[in-house]
Amino acid sequence: MKLEVQNVKVSLKSREILKDVTLKLENGEILAVLGPNGSGKSTLLRTIFGILKPMEGVVLYDGKSMDLDEIAKIAAYLPQEVPETKLRVIDVVLLGRTPHLSGIKKATRKDLYIALKALKAVNLENFAERVFNELSGGEKQKVMLARLFAQEPKIMLLDEPTAHLDLSAQIEIMRLVKSKVVEGSSAIVALHDINLAATFADKIVMLKNGVIHYEGRADEVLTPESIREIYGIDSIVKKIGKYVFVTPKVISSKNGKHVHVICGGGSGTAIIQSLVEAGYRVSAGVLNVLDSDWETAVDLGCEVICEAPFSEISEENHNKNLKLVEEANAVVLTNLNLGKGNLKNLFAAKRASELKKLVVIEKDPFKYRNFAGKVAEEVYESITKSSVVVKNEGDAIEAVRILVNG
């Protein structure tokens, strides 16, 4: 079954909710619809199901335009709100047979068989006689899914089926939908969880104010730019193989103070995150590209002075580093290993200690971390004499706070 939505416009109470929406769904596909509240996700699903009539444009099932009662025989729609009823589970699931009954509606033996099979498909075969209202949130939604399956749809339309569910229930619901799609149907799922969409959907459309802004595979569509445009938030997007992960950036109100972090080899990851979360503008350097501190700093949107992988710090980058040290309200020297390649970072730290704004995190004695010889040892000693030395990141944050606020 092929679904086409062509140039659909929908208005509710003279407000235009969908403006010229076009999309296609092929058999065997899961299409996720992402978008903020009020973007028109529910309206889109209701229009596809025939509950709402578009002002312009058409919804075509295998090329045909149909009415609600006909659509209900080939498609099934799961509204967002979970019903409240004391009906037994089996009664609820049986209602899924409604579009297939005619005349005086009554469940036949076959309908009961299909309903029980649907309950089994969602792993609730022992729940038939239970009262719907007495189930947990996850169980209720699985019963609703069984109701959907009992309708034997070619196309499933699901409106935020994972809302209000715990993590395992969310995954289970999406897996069940996926397994049904694999058996030979297709699905359109409105979701709030970008990562769930990225994991389970073959295609994603991103909707905002009734317009599709992006459309395509997760790895094509999900970028920090698209997420900023649709949701208005900054995020970190990572791609591992075919998987895409999106994490929102946790940024408290910027306090306008600048902290420069001299780090490397993973020693700066924790303090950079803490400083960003505490609202500081954080810069870091000099770091080799692909160093784990470099990844963290770049992901969190910090200004980073970077050097080519496995290369010694150049004079040019060292000067940039010194400039940031001078500009910063405070500088943190992390518990980094020092070798010939990054020795210049120690001199940058020395400059900071001379300016009385250095905090040194010393977890391990320097001699265990020093691979740059006697000179480095002497410089480090002189630095520690005129700066604040702390044992861990928590103390470092406190020291920075005191330094910055005078």
Partner: protein, 306 residues
């Protein structure tokens, strides 16, 4: 098993209604007693059965309609409309019994449609609010009519208190057609009543024309309750208690609940009427009796937990 027991109870109740009474146990050898049983007690019992079933089934339907177990068949303003209609008919001189019944019936029907039209634009509670507003307006109207026509107070009060004391075969025929039509409609639509319980959006997701079904439901309930009120006045609580009790026994699904409520309504109404006839030397209005028995029973049921 439970159904058989219910039917048995219903039959017993019917027999009691015919055989017992203030005049004692019927002796069919005696022509006077026989005439009393056939011309007076039998229509009275049948009328009580039909009204009980009509109120119970429309209570069921309204509770599904509003998805609220406290919804009542009189929610559409029918109760005050009947007495207002009757009061106006009496005060302007249409005092023949059939005229009064007709006036009560027509005014009830018109009122329930008015309430539906006033409330239908909003959510379902808008109908509730419209029902309350219209009912209080009509009660006010009735009070004014009573104030100015003191002789017919008793007759007007008949509609507000509810009684089968004026039962007759004529009244049975009046309610019979609406009763058959209404309950038949509800019985063939138990599936849709279940769908309504899931909420409108879910009912639509099953491909149902839910607005049409709701309109039909209101029409049927208006017909059933208007006919009931016109023949015997307002009898409270039956429309809530009967479905409620049956829900505890048979569950929420209307495939069993609705027939059970109809049978239990048929059982309980003649029984309560019998109590109202024989418990004192006079006759307590049956509406008062249902309230006296119904309210404590209702509280018992609620406390037992639902």
């Amino acid at each position: 098993m439970k159904v058989l027991l219910l039917i048995l109870l219903c039959i017993i109740s019917m027999f009691l209604g015919v055989f017992l009474g203030p005049a004692g146990i019927i002796d069919f050898e005696d022509p006077v007693m026989r005439s009393l049983a056939l011309d007076y007690r039998l229509p009275r019992t049948i009328l009580a059965m039909l009204v009980g079933a009509a109120l119970a089934s429309s209570g069921c339907a309204m509770q599904a309609f509003f998805r609220n177990p406290l919804a009542d068949p009189y929610i559409l303003g029918v109760s005050s409309a009947a007495s207002a209609g009757a009061a106006i008919a009496i005060s302007i001189g249409f005092a023949a019994t059939s005229n009064i019944i007709l006036a009560a019936f027509v005014s009830s029907l018109l009122t329930s449609f008015a309430v539906y039209r006033l409330g239908k634009r909003g959510e379902s509670y808008a109908i509730l609010l419209a029902g309350i507003a219209v009912a209080s307006f009509l009660s006010g109207l009735t009070a004014i009519v009573i104030y100015f026509s003191q002789e017919s107070v008793h007759e007007i009060l008949f509609w507000t208190m509810g009684s089968f004391s004026k039962a007759s075969w004529q009244k049975v025929t009046i309610i019979l057609f609406p009763f058959i039509l209404g309950t038949f409609y509800l019985i063939i639509n138990t599936w849709n009543l279940n769908a309504v319980l899931l909420g409108d959006e879910h009912a639509k997701s099953l491909g149902l024309d839910i607005e049409k079904f709701r309109r039909e439901l209101i029409a049927v309930v208006s017909l059933l309750t208007s006919a009931s009120v016109a023949v015997c006045g307002v009898i409270g609580f039956v429309g809530i208690i009967v479905p409620h009790t049956m829900r505890l026994i048979f569950g929420e699904s209307h495939q069993k609940l609705l027939p059970a409520a109809i049978i239990f309504g048929m059982t309980i109404m003649p029984f309560v009427d019998l109590l109202s006839r024989i418990s004192t030397s006079g006759e307590i209005p049956v509406g008062a009796m249902t309230a006296m028995i119904g309210a404590p029973f209702f509280i018992y049921v609620l406390r037992r937990g639902l």
